[in-house]
């Protein structure tokens, strides 16, 4: 097995909920949003790992944790075998250089008053790499790599002069200019038009190959996993419901939540008869998650044990882990 580039061990992130004045007076207990609640994962070097979840599942928090945007409440995250929580000073700066993020909304991720070329150059300036001419040269060659040809023509433009797809290319160029090893892309195409999405995904993948990147793509769209993933993890309410190779997850999904997710996707084919498994209800609050299995209030196959005992991720097939009591029977 190849080396894990990033490893998460029982990682939790709980955000405190602000208590109201009256709640403070009567001394009610502090509440927490349990955004990520006990996740263990390994992301191998050079792979595309797709993390799928609905809003509120904690997928973005997990992405930010793995870049040390903030520290976990408990658990261990290690990058190249070293814990990232304890990094300080120069070592932390090195980590920041080798782990980068591509954001969802390219309009919000770019400063409207900074020329796009300077935006691409900014990370080099921050890390004091080379003089201004060298930085500019590298920015231009990076812009060319993401599809701006000739890059000189675009360097001095402002973000509002670009289309959504072009802006996202700039965001990608900026994330890659430091030559990172690991890139987290949080819903990289959710804000783009359908006819542009495939272009951007293809670009990310080509760059991944060229630059030897390891990619963590965070998305709500399972179809993206189908096209690009080596491994897929399905997240529900702060926990991993199912995890495995793309082939296993798509051919042989086991967790009832994964199955529901698959059958909910509208299929662009009017003649495909569908045995939809429409599950009822919505994702419960992460402040008071259900006891036992998180999915039990909505699960069509729920039985007694699900309500009391939290299932563990157990290997049920080759490199295929499922967190569900159904398969213990």
């Amino acid at each position: 097995m190849t080396e894990a580039l990033l490893q998460l061990e029982d990682v939790k992130k709980h955000f405190p909920v602000k208590r109201s004045f009256i709640e403070g007076l009567v001394g009610s207990k502090a509440k927490y949003v349990r955004a990520v609640d006990g996740v263990s994962l390994r992301i191998q070097e050079g792979e595309v790992f797709v993390l799928v979840g609905e809003s509120g599942s904690g997928k973005t928090t997990l992405g930010k944790l793995s870049l040390r945007v903030f520290l976990p409440t408990s658990g261990e995250i290690s990058f190249e075998g070293r814990s990232i929580s304890s990094l300080r000073g120069q070592k932390l700066k090195e980590f920041r250089r080798s782990a980068q993020m591509v954001y969802q909304d390219p309009s919000a991720a770019l400063n409207p008053r900074v020329r796009i070329g300077d935006a691409v150059r900014e990370p080099l300036r921050f890390h004091k790499m080379g003089n201004k001419t060298e930085q500019k040269e590298r920015a231009l060659s990076m812009m060319k790599r993401v599809g701006f040809d000739p890059p000189e023509e675009f360097y001095s433009r402002f973000p509002h002069e670009l289309s959504g797809g072009q802006r996202q290319r700039i965001v990608i160029a900026r994330a890659l200019i430091l030559g990172p090893k690991f890139v987290v892309a949080d819903e990289p195409v959710a804000m783009l038009d359908v006819s542009i999405r495939a272009q951007i995904l293809k670009l990310l993948l080509d760059l991944k190959k060229e630059m030897n990147l390891t990619l963590l793509i965070i998305t709500h769209d399972i179809a993206i996993a189908k096209y690009f993933a080596d491994h897929v993890a399905i997240m529900y309410l702060g926990q991993i419901a199912e995890y495995g190779t793309r082939k296993e997850i798509f051919k042989n999904s086991m967790h009832p939540y994964t199955k529901a997710l698959f059958s909910s996707v509208p299929i662009p084919d009017p003649e495909l008869s569908k045995n939809r498994m429409v599950i009822q209800g919505e994702v419960p609050s992460a402040i008071n998650p259900p006891s036992g299995c998180r999915f039990n209030p909505r699960c069509p196959f729920v039985f007694d044990r699900c309500k009391v005992e939290e299932p563990k991720l157990v290997e049920r097939g080759p490199e295929h882990f499922v967190s569900c009591h159904l398969y213990d029977k």
Partner: protein, 322 residues
């Protein structure tokens, strides 16, 4: 007879003194109990078309040409008061974002009472609430929700309420503009299921505006493909998916991720949609079309019937092939 008949409709916005032609020469009709899916990318004019059908144009927008007949009545020539009578009662709209479409300081019940009393002042509050209770039942929600405020509801429940409000006056035609785009897929499936049921039980006609071909495949009877403000292809749902003629439709179908298919290669359309504030000779899609030839850059193709019930605007099917 057609419930709604749109002929040669054009809508323009004036943006910084320039004219942006958002909708150009759009024609279609819809029979009772039929569902039309209008599919296109952002900026193709599909939402503007939806607003124009209710004569709900924002101040900088104007219908420059065309006619909309609803039940034989010309919507564009009606006065304010007459329009108010039609909106909600005959034709209602569901908007994309349920989060911002409800008033945060009003209870759900009051939303219903307001909508119903605005059109029928004689109805008592108790009767209006009774009607609201009935609708909530149809939506699969508990009547206790009537005393809730919008912030107490989840996104999916808010969208149910929006649908419920649009049905409060028993309209014949429901226009839904991206009704599930703000929602997660499982909730999306629930809402689509609900729309399908309501369509059946209330005998509604629907116009579903979306960028998602998967949604129209499941709900629509016929589909109009919009690009750059025009309808380029119009046919029943099966034909659009089985025998698409317009190159954009063909490409669009290939690039929509389909988790049910075996293929794992994604295609895409190079370039991006046209800027509608710049007048363009010829076909709007010519820039990105793989089959482009001379005529495409000089003459704009017209939507015409090439097979029974299948209309397309493309020079490839004019007989004047390259």
């Amino acid at each position: 007879m057609a419930l709604i008949e749109v002929t040669e409709l054009s809508v323009s916005y004036s943006v910084f003194k320039r004219e942006l032609k958002a909708v150009q020469g759009v024609s279609f009709d819809l029979k009772e109990q039929e569902t039309l899916g209008i599919v296109g990318e952002s900026g193709c004019g599909k939402s503007t078309l939806g607003l124009a059908l209710l004569n709900l144009m924002p101040p900088q927008g104007k219908v420059t040409h065309g006619r909309i007949l609803l039940d034989g009545e010309d919507i564009l020539s009606l006065g304010k008061e007459q329009l108010r009578q039609i909106r909600g009662k005959k034709i209602a709209m569901i908007f994309q974002d349920p989060m911002t479409s409800l008033n945060p300081v009003k209870t759900i019940g009051n939303h219903f009472v307001e909508a119903i009393k605005a059109h029928n002042p004689d109805v008592s509050k108790a009767d209006a609430l009774e009607k609201a209770r009935k609708i909530l039942g149809q939506l699969g929600m508990s009547p206790e929700r009537l005393t809730d405020y919008p912030h107490q509801l989840s996104g999916g429940m808010k969208q149910r309420i929006m649908i419920g409000l649009s049905l409060a006056l028993d309209p014949k035609l429901l226009i839904a503009d991206e009704p599930t785009t703000a929602l997660d897929v499982i909730i999306e499936a629930q809402i689509l299921e609900l729309l399908r049921q309501l369509k059946q039980s209330l005998k509604l006609s629907m116009i579903l505006i979306t960028h998602n071909l998967g949604i129209v495949a499941e709900v629509a009877d016929k589909i109009a493909i919009m690009y750059g403000g025009e309808i380029f292809e119009l046919a029943d749902t099966k034909t659009i998916f089985r025998k698409p003629l317009f190159p954009y439709t063909q490409l669009l179908l290939k690039l929509v991720p389909n988790i049910a298919s075996e293929s794992t290669s994604l295609e895409w359309i190079p370039g991006s949609p046209p800027d509608l504030s710049i007048p363009l000779m010829g076909c709007k899609f010519a820039e990105r079309c793989p089959y482009v030839f001379g005529k495409c850059r000089t003459d704009a193709p017209k939507l015409r019937e090439v097979e029974p019930g299948h209309k397309v605007a493309c020079h490839l099917y004019d007989g004047g092939k390259p």
